[in-house]
């Protein structure tokens, strides 16, 4: 396609990157959404196609659409302005700013990326994110402020804009900030006091190391990862029934805590099952791509939802590792990025041969193996017991079948013997069937009657009861959802308009051409996983460091952290992004090293206070002249309330505990279990968790609702210490420690201790300025 475009592309003037960007952001989306449905290369309504600069210059039956000699007189502008007989687009006049953008664009000489062929592509070669990661040298200036290379990049940009950084935050604030960012829990008053008092060099670094070594670090950052992995403890769709995949969640927490190198972390999650000599834990890791939805509603076509799940794997792989919206190419070539529909299905092929629920199974067979493939973790004794019981059940069922067969011989007799009174006591449906002469009964209704006859027989009832009792004895063997390949790969076809019923050309697994090649003759999921973290792949390290950065500063260096494509925002600090990406890979993909690097920077340690000069010059704080004021997520608010009141159950891992859903009864453990444990149903949600998005990798989490529904939860949730009955139940879990005072609570302890534990401030109130109070109010205050 690119070749075709190049063949008849007249050599245009070289356009500046800025003017190309103007085209990409202001013009191309409008051309695409408003014009190209009719005016494309295929339809050429009125002879016009807007697919390329040349085709616009060439124009249609009415002549050239744009005139470079007399830009203002361009036919395109007349049509957009509705000044002549031709009024476009057909859907209605565009807004003045959009028309203005077209005017400017034509005045600029109609900049269009050179390589963009008729498919309407961005300039693949030019787009920054597809370039190899550079290894820039940090600027030399700024040594007096900088603590590490990050600061030199940040300071240089600030100075370029005539701005300076903010002073460091207070030590109390830093302690609180670090604890919240690294573990999601408040520091104890003693911890804060000790840090404030520790004037020896390296006190801060020691706190960082201690927190990175805390098991709660894995929980905190595991939650971020699980958001991306769209982890949920339920299936989604209709009844949103529970599923067991918590071992994968525990695996994530553990992998982060032991600082598994990120490249291994990726490979095991995508293809741990295909590693030579894969360990059970490496297979558990593949739960990553089993976090897809499962539709078990009556009457569904399993194949339809399998295709949805595979599509979801492509989407999520694109977003999470490559920062690319591959999913846009499901039905057609990507409108903005260099991804064809064919490439989408080649990527799809990597995930298309999982031995999971599919259209190859009948309804009954499918439901019986709905969760496959799973990995079980039973003890040998459990399997011995399971096999023995299954054998027993089989024997009992065989006996039951024989009994029923004999019994059915007497069905006619039973029917004939039913008195009118007995018939009238039956459900109306059965009465209707009985009224129909047996020869005229439909097969399905005969079955219903047969079942009713069997069900009323005491011998059948007794047998059913006995079998059910044995079934109950089957050991509950822990299991988790994993990936497993079919023995023979399922063929992958391009699906016309993404419709699973409309198979087109068959394709082989492969990766998009715009990215470095995947070198394997018969690539598998394992090759794909290795390719994602290959040194030549520029996207994975950039996307990863950017996402981590985003958690610390509220926005990524690339603000559109899921979209590094041509429609994404360009990086605010391109050199810093590349330096971080390169440093990350060089340090062996250690996440803890990356965290340490960021949080020990002077940039991170700045105060977050509002500054008029910054508000005026850099309102979005893209230059980082101060720290960001971030609200914590709702589950962290909950954990803070629990931990501050001493009610947090410290256990990490294990099966999820569903929080009580109002108005049902409250389960004390459910209320008190902490962040890593709380199950995430595909449905929303416990009302306390009001900012929780749907479990999708691209879901936007915006902590802190401003509409009044968030405050009452922390204010009045039992865990916040207001409801006496609730509190007593909770307090049995951990009946000691720092509890928040509540009105009417005779057990209120030392108010000073409470202030310290909640606000990380000495409670004496003598040496603290009042205005310092919530030093970082939004990270802590509910």
């Amino acid at each position: 396609m690119a070749g075709l475009g190049a063949a008849h592309a007249a050599p245009g003037p070289p356009f500046s990157a800025e003017s190309i960007r103007f085209f990409e952001t202001r013009i191309r989306p409008t051309l695409h959404s408003q014009c190209s449905q009719c005016h494309n290369d295929r339809l050429r309504t009125s002879g016009l196609s807007v697919a390329s600069r040349d085709s616009l210059l060439e124009g249609g039956t009415r002549g050239a659409a744009i005139s470079l000699d007399r830009p203002g007189k361009s036919l395109l502008l007349a049509a957009l302005r509705h000044t002549g007989s031709l009024k476009m687009p057909a859907g209605g006049k565009l807004s003045a700013p959009v028309i203005g953008a077209f005017e400017r664009w034509i005045e600029l000489g109609a900049p269009w990326p050179e390589d963009a062929g008729s498919g309407g592509r961005a300039d693949d070669a030019v787009h920054w994110a597809f370039q190899p990661v550079a290894r820039p040298t940090p600027p030399l200036s700024g040594a007096e402020w900088a603590r590490n290379a990050i600061d030199r990049f940040v300071l240089a940009r600030l100075r370029d804009s005539g701005l300076g950084p903010s002073p460091p935050a207070s030590r109390e604030t830093l302690a609180r900030r670090l604890h919240l960012d690294l573990t999601g829990l408040l520091p104890s008053a003693e911890e804060v006091r000790a840090f404030v008092a520790d004037r020896r060099p390296g006190a801060y670094e020691r706190m960082v190391d201690r927190l990175l070594a805390s098991p709660h670090y894995g929980e905190r950052w595991g939650r971020h990862w699980l958001d991306l992995a769209r982890y949920a403890d339920s299936n989604g769709y209709n009844a949103d029934a529970e599923r067991k995949v918590w071992m994968y969640r525990d695996w994530v927490i553990d992998a982060l805590n032991r600082d598994q190198p990120f490249d291994r972390f990726v490979i095991e999650q995508l293809a741990g099952d295909l590693l030579p000599g894969a360990t059970p834990q490496q297979i558990v890791a593949t739960g990553f791509h089993r976090n897809t939805l499962l539709n078990l509603e009556g009457g569904v076509d399993f194949e339809q939802y399998r295709v949805e799940a595979v599509t979801d794997r492509v989407d999520v792989t694109g977003i999470v590792f490559l920062g690319l919206s591959l999913g846009c190419a499901r039905c057609h070539d990507h409108k903005f990025d260099p991804i064809t529909q064919r490439e989408f299905y080649r990527f799809f092929a990597f995930f298309n041969s999982i031995d999971e629920l599919s259209g190859e199974y009948s309804d009954a067979e499918g439901r019986a193996r709905a969760f496959e493939p799973v990995l079980e973790f039973g003890t040998p004794e459990q399997y011995v017991r399971k096999n023995a019981l299954n054998a027993q059940i089989e024997a009992m069922e065989a006996e039951q079948r024989a009994y029923q067969k004999e019994l059915l011989g007497r069905q006619d007799e039973w029917e004939a013997g039913l008195s009118p009174e007995e018939v009238s006591r039956l459900p109306p449906g059965l009465q209707a069937i009985l009224r129909t002469p047996s020869a005229e009964r439909l097969e399905r209704r005969k079955g219903i009657l047969r079942n009713a006859f069997l069900a009323q027989d005491p011998g059948v009832q007794e047998r059913r009861k006995a079998i059910a009792a044995v079934r109950k004895l089957l050991p509950a063997i822990p299991s988790t959802l994993v990936m497993r390949e079919l023995a023979e790969a399922r063929p992958t076809h391009i699906l016309v308009q993404g419709d699973f019923l409309r198979k087109s050309e068959r394709v082989a697994p492969g990766t998009p051409a715009v990215l470095p090649p995947l070198e394997a003759s018969e690539p598998t999921r394992l090759h794909l996983a290795r390719w994602l973290v290959d040194n030549r792949n520029p996207l994975t390290p950039r996307v990863t460091v950017n996402r981590i950065w985003q958690r610390y500063f509220g926005a990524g260096i690339v603000a559109t952290s899921n979209d590094f494509g041509t429609q994404g925002e360009p990086p605010s600090h391109p050199a810093l992004l590349d330096w971080l990406a390169a440093a990350f890979v060089e340090a062996g993909w250690s996440l803890k090293d990356l965290h340490r690097l960021i949080v020990t920077s002077a940039t991170y340690r700045q105060a977050s206070s509002h500054r008029e000069d910054l508000a005026a010059r850099d309102p979005a704080n893209r230059l980082l002249g101060r720290q960001a004021r971030l609200r914590v997520e709702s589950e962290i608010v909950r954990d803070l309330a629990l931990s501050a009141s001493g009610l947090l159950a410290p256990k990490i891992g294990g099966p999820s505990v569903f929080p009580a859903q109002p108005p049902g009864g409250d389960d004390s453990e459910a209320v008190a279990r902490e962040q890593g444990i709380r199950p995430i149903p595909a449905r929303p949600l416990h009302p306390l968790l009001a900012d929780e998005p749907a479990p999708r990798a691209d879901a936007l989490r915006q902590p802190g609702r401003a509409d009044g529904l968030h405050p009452p939860q922390p204010l009045d949730h039992p865990a916040a210490g207001a409801d006496a009955a609730q509190r007593q139940r909770l307090s049995r879990i951990r009946p000691r420690t720092r509890r928040a005072p509540a009105v009417g609570d005779e057990r209120c302890g030392d108010l000073r201790a409470v202030v310290e534990s909640l606000l990380d401030l000495p409670g004496t109130g003598t040496h603290r300025r009042r205005t310092e109070y919530p030093a970082k109010p939004c990270r802590g205050a509910a």
Binding site: N238, G299, S325, C328, P427, A620, A706, T771, P777
Partner: protein
Amino acid sequence: MDPLQNVRLNATRRHFLGECFVGLGGIALGGLLGGQPMHAESADTAADPLAPKAPHFPAKAKRVVYLFMSGAPSQFETWLWRPKLREMDGQPTPDSFLDGKRFAFMERFTEQRPTLLGPQRDFQRHGKSGTWVSEVFPHMARVVDDLAVVHSLRAENFNHAPAKLFFNTGSTRYGRPSMGSWITYGLGSEASDLPAFVVLRSGEQNLMGGANIWGSGFLPTAYQGVEFLRTTDPIPNLSTPPGFSRSQQRARVDAVRELNRARLAAVGDPEIATRIAAYELAYRMQASAPELMDLAAESQSTLDLYGAVPGKASFANNCLVARRLLERGTRFVQLYHTGWDHHGNRVNNLAGKLDEVALAVDRACAALVTDLRQRGLLDDTLVIWGGEFGRTPMGEIQELPGRNHHIENFPMWFAGAGIKGGQTIGEVDDLGFFVTKDPVDVHDVQATILHLLGLDHTKLTYRHQGRDFRLTDVGGRVMKRLLA
């Protein structure tokens, strides 16, 4: 909206508020906290995502109540009278209607091809319009001249959860914003102490699709629907706990506010003002929500009109709560009533179960239309009734009469603001298989609802992952015939 635009708006607001707060201190803040809706003076989504926004063009409807009949009511026993189907009751289904078509529960079809099932209820013409209405809806029949009944709806998906997702989000995939979220994003909130988008549920069965059908998807979570539970404490943890007086609560909120004010005075960050306002809203809601749910305040004649009983969980009570919400500024109220999935088994059938569910909703649906009219609210309130798809003209072969899922035609009705009542729209063939005239897609319904609210469905967009998304995706035509 363009994210950068958001930032610029925010910057403007920061300037304004920054000066105000720093310059005027407590005076400006006092005004803010005086119980006035914070929205009145600011139209800025960055600082207050719920600030009221002007529609694209003058709106016919100021508010919407959507009565969602969950499970897919059978058209043949409600609004679509097919005498020919009754004549052909028990006949084999003509092959031409089945070949190449996909249905839910296909396996049962191949086991045994189902026969046509005649209407299980009688119909009569009602009102000046002479609209056919089934005997299961005697009350709705009385207000039929207010209703525009559309027979020619077509759905995309024949499974409940995806179909409900499609109706509400314009897509069968998870993660898109719901209609109420789009509307709230587009118009903000007019309710000073209640949410702009409220959901109420009733019925005995599980609501397939669950809370995702009123989620905010990729829109900010401030726009998601808020479910009010069927109790006097509609929002969990909202009411002050037992033994905790209103004045104690006030003192508590005041203490937090004092601390926030001190910080605001020190740093002038408008974010803090937003936070203070949020707490105030929560405090006001603590009083307004129980008041809202207290149906004992309604006259006996109103309670009788709906069939509502204070303290009881029912669709009728929810309809009355819906009217009270609309009166108090809530813009979009969605009621879900389950129990319409009449397959023909003991739990779901066109025998007794149809009568049960019809009885539960009929009086209250009609009462809502009547009550809104009596209060002068019907002129600018849009009322919508319908399910997620329809049911087959074939019976399902089970114990009792029932029908399978059918997406080729199903009914909805619309009443109130901007709607031309007393008409029927769309035609379906004699046996009730396919639309023969004026087909209406779900995206068309969405486009029309937005249109009545003054929103152009092609312009109400949100950029996500590099693309401008909209409720109607790439479809949607305003149903012109529906409009007065």
